[in-house]
Structure formats: structure tokens, C-alpha cells
Symmetry: C2
Subunit: 234 residues, 2 copies
DNA sequence: ATGCGTGTGTTCTATATTCGAACACATTGT
DNA sequence: ACAATGTGTTCGAATATAGAACACACGCAT
């Protein structure tokens, strides 16, 4: 059944799993605890940790406990670097004009990952879409906007017929909205952002209440999406 | 001389170097090019890349070329997670009250890394300190603020006597300023942010010109620093 | 103090894992 | 048609790694 033909590197895979474990854990961990969670011998974890430390990806606090290092953030700055660079000014403009948190999301397998976000002056809440947050792409306006760019055949398994109809319907008008889907009582409006040769993306805003009509918001987002796409030759 | 007794993991180190190479390269690379830059056999790079791909840390564009994947951003969100969470609302307040970009930096070996930044409404420029940017800690106001928290013995090699005097002088008044140090014609004001058991950090603002006196700005920053430190039990 | 539990760092050998060459194939441009 | 470039796969040899075992430091209870 499971056509397991993946000749993966054991050592590298374990090293990455350490990073994943540390990102999940909200607190610094000991070597023993990390080895336990990876289900490897402690001396293995030790060598891997030493290597990660050499590269600055992890750091030890005063107690010797281990957490992700600041250089992880520096590495992540290279993700879709040009897209972020072009999108950020636009996100800022939209956030300030509409008074809403505005953010950029991209597709990552079956999840919707926020790459950058900008808060306006009177942010309703600190529920701000922090960069790096992710949730299933089948939920929320940005997710649906992204799905509208993806060939139906390669949709994730969580997509039912109802979702397909909803997405294809909204795709014709060019924008998407959601309510209570990712964060309770929060609304979102999103437009897809397709760039040549790059994965699907979307820009969106979230808000509690707004003087603007959703269609009006969508029009503003679409304008910025056009600017970004033009800048990247998409 | 160099007591090289670092039993590091070759495989993991090479895998990480791939990520570093991809972060540096502003464009997607081929497997051959990556293997060339790592100076390893292509089949080695291939297996490592396959593993990185399994974990979502890299992705291929339409041409099959390779770039950092969105999940890198998700991983990086775990860096100093609690610090970021506590600092972000404060950064936002400061940015909006002073009308300047406000950001959080931490120490990473001999570099100053920006973890989070917030732009105000009327941002003078999109020179916004993007999260992940880094520069030598010996330059700029945030760097000096961070250095003031570091025992002199463990200062980086780039620190001369002049810098030491400057930092110790400013440390007594509690805040730091710089001009033309990191970005030409830009000024910055920073205050140190020491948190129990965690690495040195600082919050700062950058601006071109300001109606506020530097001391006034510093006082506002210090207030937020106090709030953050209190929240984290530092 | 003594013992106990936990955590870190180091050394060592068998072997599983990785290395690197070679092959097959697709694509692109000359 | 041919070379040039890139990708994916196989395979034996060699080496980097896995995991056990040891030495040590620290905190905490008995």
C-alpha cells in the first residue's frame, strides 16, 4: 500500500525534528527531554544539538536549557524574500487606509501560513496574525482565496463538495470572506494573489466590524494585489 | 592553536548549510548549484534536499528550482515566542504614539537580530526593520543597548576602547542613540531589555526626524520595556 | 554527610548510514 | 543531431553515526 520509497537522511531528519520540537515547546527543554521526545539515544541528541548550536539555530539559556536561536528568524527572513519585500508596503497602505490588520498568506502543503502582517493604528485587538501562524487552508477567507488558485485535483483531503462550490462561486467575483472560521467573532476578506512560477498566495484583512462594505474592501485589496503582481512580473 | 574538538554531525551540518545558502540566494537554485556551493557530491545534496522537502523546509517552484519553504517561517515563529508575544502590543503602542517604526532586537553571538517590528501610520519610509535583519552588534543604538547588558569580557572582537567608553557612558543614563550607523541619515534610540535567564535584548525606534527629544523617546521606550519585563517575570 | 535523581560531557566500537561514482532519462538550445 | 544541463536512481565501499558505558557536577531529600 504505502509505496514507501523515500530515501531520506536519518541524521538530518532528526536534526530538523529537534527544531520542530523546540518550536512546539513553549519553554526551553533539556537535552534529555529532547532525546525522549525524539526517541533517540541521548548522545545522539547531544551531537545534533551541538551541531545546531554551531550554526546558531539553537541557544542555551542561563540554566543550560535549550531553545530556538535568533538565527532561525534570520533564516526565515529569506522565505519568499522578494514577495515579502514587494508586499509589505502594500500591506501597510491597506492596513492604514482601512484601519484593519492586513497580512500576506501563502500555501504550504495543506496549510495556510502567514508570512507578514501589518497592524493599523487603532488595532482592535492583539489577535494580530503573527507571522508564522498557520491553520488548515480549507478554513478562512485567505485559505479559500488560495484554494481558488489551486487545481481542484490537488486539493487537500479536507475539502468537501460544499467547500468546492463555495470557492468556485466566490472565485468568479474575485474575492472571499469568512466569519467565525479561524478566530471566533472575527471577519476576514481576502483576494487571491497568483504569481508566475510561485506558489499560491493571498492578501487579506481581518476585522471585528467595519464601516466599509466587503466588496469595497475587496476592491482595495485587489488593487494592491495588482501592484504586487506587476512588480514581480507575474 | 585552534583547539578544534567539535564533534559535529556532518550530515546535519550540510543540511543546515543548504538552508543558509538558500536564504542568502535571492533566487531559487538548482540541485547542481546547491551541491556546487556546498562542495559536496550532487547525490548527497539530492538526498538532503529530499529530506528537507519532506519536512516542508524547502519547496520547488514551477521550474523545479528550490527555495526556502513557508514552514521555515512557521518554525521561526517559535523563537522567543513569549518575548515576542509580550513585546508586540508594546511595540505597536510606541510606534503609534511616537509615529516611528519600533522594533525588538536580540543578541545572536556577535550580531543584533531584529525579531519583530511595527510600523506607524505615517511611516516615513519602507526602510522598515524587517524581522530577521541583522548586523554587527557593535553598530547602532539597539546593538549598544544590548552590549550594555553583556559582561565586558564576552564582548565581540570588533569592540574597541572607544565603543566601550561610549556604551558605559550611555548605560548610566539608561538609553542609547545612533546616527548614520546602520542606515545612512537615519537616527535611532534604544533602551536595553534584560530578562531573567534570557539573552540580552533591546527595543528601539528609528526615525529620520522627530518633534520629540531623544530623552523623551527613551522615556517612552523605557516604560514599555518595564511592562514587558514585568510580564515575563524578569 | 551520604545517597539518589537528574543532567551534562566524553570515549569507544560495530554497524547502519551515508558517500560518491556511474547510469538512464528528460529538456533545452545550438 | 548533438552537446550541455538538470533530475532521479542504483550500488558497493567506506565512513560517519548510533548507542552503550563511563566520569562528573549539581540539587535535594533522607
Amino acid at each position: 500500500m504505502t509505496e514507501e520509497r523515500a530515501p531520506a537522511s536519518q541524521t538530518l531528519s532528526r536534526g530538523i525534528r529537534i527544531l520542530e520540537v523546540l518550536a512546539d515547546a513553549r519553554e526551553p527543554l533539556t537535552i534529555d527531554e529532547i532525546a525522549r521526545r525524539l526517541d533517540v539515544h541521548r548522545s545522539v541528541a547531544y551531537r545534533l544539538l551541538r551541531t545546531l548550536e554551531d550554526h546558531g539555530l539553537i541557544a542555551r539559556d542561563a540554566n543550560g536549557h535549550i531553545a530556538l536561536g535568533a538565527r532561525m528568524a534570520a533564516l526565515a527572513a529569506g522565505v519568499a524574500h522578494d514577495l515579502q519585500a514587494e508586499a509589505l508596503p502594500e500591506l501597510t497602505d491597506v492596513a492604514n487606509e482601512l484601519g484593519m490588520t492586513c497580512f500576506l498568506s501563502v500555501l504550504d502543503h495543506d496549510e495556510c501560513v502567514t508570512l507578514a502582517s501589518v497592524e493599523p493604528r487603532h488595532a482592535v485587538a492583539s489577535v494580530a496574525q503573527r507571522p508564522g501562524t498557520r491553520h488548515p487552508v480549507t478554513r478562512g477567507a485567505p485559505g479559500k482565496a488560495i484554494l481558488s488558485l489551486v487545481p481542484g485535483a490537488s486539493w487537500p483531503s479536507g475539502a468537501d463538495a460544499h467547500l468546492r462550490d463555495e470557492v468556485t462561486d466566490a472565485a468568479t467575483r474575485g474575492w472571499f470572506e469568512s466569519h467565525d472560521e479561524v478566530i471566533p467573532s472575527l471577519r476576514a476578506v481576502a483576494v487571491p494573489l497568483a504569481i508566475r512560477g510561485r506558489g499560491a498566495a493571498a492578501i487579506a484583512v481581518v476585522y471585528l466590524a467595519s464601516p466599509h462594505a466587503p466588496a469595497e474592501i475587496a476592491a482595495r485589496l485587489a488593487r494592491s494585489a495588482g501592484v504586487i503582481r506587476a512588480a514581480l512580473g507575474g
